[in-house]
Every structure is written in structure tokens, then in C-alpha cells.
Amino acid sequence: MPIPDTSEQSGTISAMTQAVQVSGLRKTYTTKKVTTAAVDGVDLSINTGEIFALLGPNGAGKSTTVEILEGYRHRDAGEVSVLGEDPQTAGTRWRERIGIVLQNTKDLSLLTVRESLRTFSYYYPNARGADELMELVGLSGKADAKLTALSGGQRRRMDVALGIIGRPELLFLDEPTTGFDPEARRQFWDLIRQLRADGTTILLTTHYLDEAEALADRVGVINAGKVIEVNTPDRLGGRHGAEATVRYRDPSGELVSIGTNTPTETVRELMQRFDNAEIPELTVARPSLEDVYLKMIGVPAA
């Protein structure tokens, strides 16, 4: 029996609510006559307005995927739609709607913060003003500092300022907080949340699992060129249903760990054993995002 084909129609509808849609993406590199697939059939969709974190070890195909979405690289196969356009052929109008924060930048060293912001403001219609940007990213007071005089964290904030100068609908953040001290990271996270509240879709790649957990609405794990799972941070890798660990110190002074699917029951038993007194050093823990992530990419638990 023929099934009515509705795929085209639903495709149009989802394209409107999805900032990024990728299916069957492939990219191979040939070095010394050996061809390897850096990206080997990636499927991905990012909803408009969400923060999506892409996780994966170095060499997993993360950067290649992101650079294809940013329009820096051409793909070998697959379908890619970013803000409704193919990045490979999209023009300046499309570039006005995206913002990119690259990693390891060391350019613009001879200009001051304000001069760099001014120069880049000419590339976008409706660019944010230099003062507004410096306020947003926390560089007020550094207007006349040369970029070489900024600390690593300040330099990164400058990159973010240049990334959001054109009020992008979609922002690519590539390892934005490398080298930040804890306080600077918290401030940075607030900025990212503020951008989401303003309706910006954000694709974040990071090596910090706590960062993904704090910011991302959904995370995708990429390994060996494939997306192995996409889920909310609290459900990734079956984390919410995973065995809990109950830990306490027993009267002989030994630290005891019990793996259990019913931690409440275990604690109740312990309370009876300790006559409802305080159970020494009691903790009940589910695996952290880092634990499930490491398991997913095949690193044995510590």
C-alpha cells in the first residue's frame, strides 16, 4: 500500500523551527594516500533559540563538523541547512545573521579594543555599538587597551564581543572559556544565558563538561566521526536511570561504597543499622556528566 509522501512538507516546517539541520554529513581527508573520514555520517538538528553543546574528544570530527556549518569547509556528502541556507553557497546576507567565535586567536594585536570593535561594526548592518559591547562582555575600562595588553580571559571576551557585534541569530562558540579563572567563567556563562534569553541560538563546543551541563539545553556527543547520542545533559547516557553510589564510613573506619538502583532503600537500611543516628560521611551520587561522557567515548571509568 502506498504511503502518502509528507516528508517534503514536514521538512519545510521543521526548517522554520530549526536553526541547524544536518543529515548524512561526510568529510574525508587524504594524507599520504590514506583516506580517512573525519566526519562519517553525522545527523544533527539544533532548535532555534536553544544552546546546543557539541562534545567529543580531539579528532572526533567536532571541529570539522562545526567548520562545515560555519561555511569554512566544503563537505563531501550529506545535507546541511544553517538558518535555512546551505553554508557552502550562502552569501554575505547569511553571514550577517551568524556570529563566529574561533579558538586560539592572536590577531588584531596592534589595535585597541575600541578600534577593533569600530572596524568590525562596519561589516554588519545594525551592529552593536562599541560601548554597549564592552559593557556586555565586561571590557568596560579597557577601551583604549591594545589587544596584546589584555589577559587571556579578556582577550576571549573580545572574541565574543566581535562574535556578537552583528546581533547574530546563530552564534558559534568554539571552546570559549579556555584559560578562564572560575569567576570569569561564571560571568561568561551569565552572558551566554543572556544571549539565549534575547533569542540567540548557540552552538557551543567545549571540553568542560560542567560548562555543557550549566549552559546547554541539549548536548550531542560525537566520536569517530559519528554522533552517538543527543540528549538533555541530565539524561545523556542513561544518566538519570544509572546506578547510584551510596557512600559512608562504617564503624570500623572503612569507607564503604554501594552501587544500587534503589538508593533510598539502601539509605533506609543504613539508618536502621545506625539506630537513626547520623550516618558518617554519607553521600548519594549519580554519575556526573563527565562519568557518562567518558564511558560513551570508551574511556574506562577511574
Binding site: Y29, S63, T64, E67, E70, G71, Y72, R73, T92, R93, R95, E96, R97, I98, I100, L102, N104, T105, K106, D107, L108, S109, L110, L111, E115, S116, R118, T119, F120, Y122, Y123, Y124, P125, N126, A127, L162, G166, R167, P168, E169, D198, G199
Partner: protein, 282 residues
């Protein structure tokens, strides 16, 4: 129509007034010139070096006489101006662009809506700025110390202006084309400087061209700098000095022809080879 709202969310990307290409180019030109002037090495090597060389060579060989009753020192000045044009266009760009490719500026710019042309026009504006400064500097020093005279009539002025414009265009295009050769930014000076030096030695900058062996003159005649310096000697030196040229004439047709040919070659190479990404970048 409500355009009074000032909140961040009400203004979306791309919704505003488009900025003209001219304004973008001006912004790039200002950034380029500021960056150039703030880099002490580039100011010293590009602007001051040709002046220092002129003073040195003019002082050492100054009293020797060349054909047409002029001093060597006077003969050197147009060649040195040619070297100044080479330094501010070819050398500057062939060293600067690989550094900008390495430090990520080119990649960053490619990720913005800035038209590619704005980058190159900004570079050309910087080159013109530096070169004008350089020509004025060398001409003034040449006039004060070595008896250089300004072009004698409108015709010589016209040739000078046309030569400077065509020569800059050619050497700018060749500089951009050459910038794709160095693998890293730090290796660029080591690759570019010897080439520039050899060209200067064989193109009548540091030695009178007529003193070179014929075969070396023929090698030099393949490259644009020899023709640029020859044309500049026409513009600045008395007509009798043409006896110093290999053909015994100024050969202005060949001068413009060869520079034009190299401009075309440079343009084609730029279009075929220009890279926005470092070769280390995957």
C-alpha cells in the same frame, strides 16, 4: 512604523541600513594604516631602510661620474625610489599577509559579511599611504644631499605619476600572490627579503645598471623592478643620462609593457592561489 524601540531583542541581525562598500573599505584602510604605523619594525625597515641605504651609497660612491654629466649619487636616487616602492608594496604585503593568515585574522574576516574586496582595497590604501610617504622622503633627501631635480616638465611628471601607479599596482598584486608561498608567518621575511635584495642588486638600485655584466642585465630585464627604476630615471634625470641605459634610450614603451605584463601575471596568480587559511589549519 515603530523604529523607536531601543531594546536588544527588537533589533535582529541584518535588519538595519546596509553599509556601503566604500565605508567598509575606509574602515579597513584606517585599521591597516594604524596597525602599520604602530609596528616599529615595519616603520624602520620599510620607511627608513631605503633612506639609510640612499645616504650610505650616495656618500660612498657619490663623487664618481656617470654618463650625461651626473654624479652616481644623483643616479642612485630614482633607483632607490624604485626600491622604496618595492619595499612598501611587495615586501610589506608578502610578509604581512602570511602573518595575518597565521594569527587567524584572515579566517576571522572570512567569517564576517565583509566583502573580500574590502580587505584588498584596505591593503592597497595602506601601500599607497606608505609609498607616498617613502617617495616624498627619498625625493627630499635626494634633492637636499645628492642634487636630484624634480621632473623638468609636464611630460616627465605624467610619466612619473603613471609609473608610480602602475608600479605600485604590479608590485602589490605580486606581493599578494607571493604571500601564499611562505608556509608560516614567521618564515615569510626569510623568504621575501633575499628575493628583494637580489632584485635590488641586479636592477640598478645599489649599483649602476650599466656596470653589470650583460647576462645579468638580461636576467634583470625579466623582472619588473629593472623597468621601474629605468622609468624613474627617465622621470628624474636629465635626458643626456639615457646614455647610461643598456639600449642607450629610455625605452618607455618596454617599461610600461613589462610592468603591465607583470600586473596581469600577478592578478592571475592572486586569483588562482590566494588562501584565507593557514596550511596548518587542517
Amino acid at each position: 512604523m515603530s523604529s523607536t524601540s531601543q531594546t536588544n531583542t527588537s533589533v535582529r541581525a541584518g535588519s538595519g541600513r546596509r553599509i556601503s562598500l566604500a565605508a567598509m573599505c575606509r574602515a579597513r584602510a584606517v585599521a591597516e594604516i594604524k596597525a602599520f604605523l604602530r609596528q616599529k619594525e615595519s616603520v624602520v625597515f620599510t620607511l627608513a631602510f631605503p633612506v639609510i641605504m640612499l645616504v650610505l651609497f650616495g656618500t660612498i660612491f657619490g663623487s664618481n661620474k656617470a654618463d650625461g654629466g651626473i654624479n652616481f649619487a644623483t643616479y642612485f636616487v630614482p633607483g632607490m625610489i624604485g626600491a622604496g616602492i618595492l619595499a612598501s608594496s611587495f615586501q610589506t604585503l608578502a610578509i604581512q599577509i602570511p602573518i595575518e593568515r597565521d594569527d587567524g585574522l584572515l579566517k576571522r574576516l572570512r567569517g564576517t559579511p565583509m566583502p573580500k574586496a574590502a580587505y584588498f582595497i584596505g591593503k592597497v590604501a595602506m601601500v599607497l599611504f606608505v609609498m607616498l610617504l617613502e617617495i616624498i622622503l627619498l625625493t627630499v633627501v635626494g634633492m637636499i644631499m645628492f642634487g636630484l631635480k624634480l621632473p623638468v616638465d609636464a611630460n616627465h611628471w605624467l610619466v612619473l605619476i603613471a609609473l608610480v601607479l602602475l608600479g605600485t599596482t604590479t608590485l602589490t598584486l605580486l606581493g599578494i600572490a607571493f604571500s601564499s608561498l611562505p608556509r608560516t608567518g614567521s618564515s615569510a621575511p626569510a623568504l621575501v627579503t633575499p628575493i628583494a635584495l637580489v632584485l635590488q642588486f641586479i636592477s640598478g638600485v645599489f649599483f649602476p645598471f650599466y656596470q653589470l655584466p650583460t647576462w645579468l642585465q638580461e636576467v634583470a630585464a625579466i623582472f619588473p623592478l629593472k623597468w621601474l627604476t629605468q622609468g624613474l630615471r627617465y622621470a628624474f634625470l636629465p635626458d643626456a643620462a639615457k646614455g647610461n641605459e643598456p639600449a642607450g634610450a629610455w625605452e618607455l614603451g618596454k617599461v610600461f609593457g613589462m610592468l603591465g605584463l607583470w600586473a596581469v601575471i600577478g592578478m592571475v596568480l592572486c586569483l588562482l592561489t590566494f588562501r584565507w587559511r593557514s596550511s596548518n589549519d587542517g
